[in-house]
């Protein structure tokens, strides 16, 4: 089972599972703009951030926000429990091509795995992953199919 992005049970403070990868939204389900880096020397953009540019090794990079919407480049449905993982199979891993050329890999929020397809438009939204020992809610960015009639994520 994939995690949900709309769970009301978020008892503790929202804390990023991977600190610094995005700004913490007010509540679960909201879109997240991933925080990457853009090389001032060659213009390449990276996520996650880098200290030196992968392309030209410059250390002059600035923080940039990634678009929150992209397209599914490819996906797979995982049926094997990874020891230590908060994800319970079956769940889908997707690779999302963002309009700025960056590819992001993450997990789909709970939904119909069967209808998932290459080319689907998806949004990156904040979802609950697990609680930490201090009672905080650890969150990360998850992929959710964009709503065609009404984009609830944007309308929220």
């Amino acid at each position: 089972m994939s995690p949900t992005a709309t769970s009301t049970q978020a008892p503790g403070r929202l804390v990023a599972l991977a600190p610094g990868t995005f700004r913490i939204p007010e509540r679960l389900g909201l879109p997240v703009h991933l925080l990457g880096a853009r090389c001032r020397a060659c213009g390449e953009t990276f996520f996650p951030k880098r200290v030196f540019c992968a392309n030209c090794s410059s250390d002059s990079l600035e923080e940039v926000e990634m678009p929150e919407r992209g397209q599914v480049q490819t996906y797979t449905v995982v049926h094997q429990q990874l020891p230590g993982s908060a994800m319970v199979p079956p769940y889908a891993i997707v690779r999302i091509a963002l309009p700025n050329g960056v590819a992001v890999q993450t997990v789909m929020v709970e939904g119909d795995l069967a209808s998932l397809a290459i080319g689907d438009v998806v949004d990156l939204v904040a979802g609950r992953i697990m609680e930490d020992d201090a009672g905080n809610t650890l969150i990360s960015y998850l992929a959710r199919k964009a709503q065609t009639e009404k984009d609830e994520v944007r309308g929220a």
Binding site: L17, A18, C42, E44, T45, F46, A54, N55, Q73, T74, Y75, T76, V77, V78, H79, Q80, L82, P83, G84, S85, A86, M87, Y91, I93, R95, N100, G101, V102, A103, Q105, T106, V107, I118, I129, M130, S140
Partner: protein, 378 residues
């Protein structure tokens, strides 16, 4: 650079040997390689050892089983590509005259269960992303969409692999499987099922190499020459045209294969027999494309049509490959060299390709950290 020849190779059977020490397994492989080469241990001037999970100083612990001659023992690690890295380092040293005769060893005792690529508590683990076959599966899904391939074609890699393994007394799996069995086995990461994943394996492999100009004294029955090599890690492609991770990155394979072909003075059409890194079934399909043995998008169909079978025009993983021979990560690359040696010397028995007339052999072996390509000529 001097010509360098492989004089002999040897294996400890691949499989599960919980009661056997690394020393005992490595000792047997080294002894088999020395005997096969006709080279006494005292003539070995250096050992390059591929191993990953064994503790500090594991190379010397194993190599010194054969004798304590004071030679350097250099431990090399590149995950699943460790012992082709060890082979390449040894080769370059001998080619450049630093040593005349060298031993290459690979060994591993694996933990049971699926290979973990990330640490517990890492982001990739908690998020369920660091599932080993997932990167292959992601590429396979896209490949099916782009090239009209089917899950059956990936499954066929494993069917062919097990058929070859059944002919190899050193293989972990020596039993054939049907395509129905492969497809019906538990799905790990779609379209990859359990029987399309390499098993966890214990094993050891060893190879003896020598400067060609110094090899005469061993009255070697036969040998093969190292003809080309290339190695590298993932190269950034501007504008984020990400080709996937190094483990299955056909972009890297293509780049490095070109270098290796050029050094060997051949093209992909000259290759008679190939060993590729099929840790998961898509590996064979992607890699034969990356190596230029078939065109882009033609790999799955080539497997499906039997072209990579022992009697096909581009035989691949004739010993069962990682899927059936097994994949003790530090030993895998040296086992690949061993099989190419058997094929190019016409000693592959029931697995022999091209009626014993194979002249060029190719190896692609990948690991976290890079890809190795090696070319051999009879």
């Amino acid at each position: 650079m001097r010509d360098v020849v492989v004089l002999g190779a040897g294996l400890h059977r691949f499989g599960r040997f919980p009661e056997k020490s690394l020393q005992a397994m490595g000792r047997e492989a080294i002894k088999n390689a020395l005997d096969d080469a006709g080279v006494p241990f005292k003539d070995i001037e250096v050992a390059y050892v591929g191993r990953v999970l064994a503790g500090m100083g594991a190379g010397l612990n194993v190599v010194s089983e054969l004798g304590q001659t004071g030679i350097p023992v250099v431990n090399i690690e590149m995950a699943c590509g460790s012992s082709t890295s060890a082979f390449r380092e040894a080769y370059l040293m001998v080619a450049n005259g630093v040593y005349d005769t060298a031993l290459v060893v690979g060994f591993e005792k694996m933990q049971r269960g699926m290979l973990q690529i990330a640490e517990q508590k890492s982001y990739g683990t908690v998020m369920g992303l660091s599932v080993m076959p997932a990167s292959y599966a992601l590429q396979a899904q896209r490949y099916m969409a782009d090239h009209g391939a089917t899950p059956e074609m990936f499954a066929q890699v494993s069917v062919k692999s097990h058929r070859n393994g059944a002919l190899n007394p050193y293989a972990q799996y020596q039993t054939e499987v049907t395509i129905e069995e492969v497809l019906a086995s538990r799905t790990i990461a779609a379209p990859i099922t359990l029987l399309q994943c390499s098993p966890t394996t214990d094993g050891a492999a060893a190879v003896v190499i020598c400067a060609k100009e110094k090899a005469g004294k061993y009255a070697a029955r036969r040998s093969m020459t190292v003809a080309g090599w290339a190695t590298g890690s993932g190269k950034y492609v501007p504008k984020s045209h990400d080709e996937g991770d190094a483990e299955v990155n056909t972009g890297e394979v293509t780049r490095l294969a070109r270098i290796a072909y050029e050094r060997a003075g051949i093209g992909p059409e000259d290759v008679d027999v190939t060993q590729v890194h099929d840790a998961f079934s898509p590996g064979e399909i992607f890699t034969i494309e990356g190596l230029g043995l078939v065109g882009e998008g033609e790999g799955a169909r080539a497997v499906w049509e039997g072209r990579t079978e022992i009697n096909g025009d581009i035989p691949v993983n004739t010993d069962g490959g990682l899927l059936s021979r097994g994949h003790p990560i530090g030993a895998t690359g040296a086992a690949m060299v061993t099989e190419i040696f058997r094929q190019l010397t016409g000693e592959a028995g029931p697995r022999q390709v091209k009626d014993g007339n194979a002249k060029v052999g190719l190896i692609q072996n990948a690991g976290i950290g890079g890809v190795n390509v090696l070319v051999f000529k009879r």
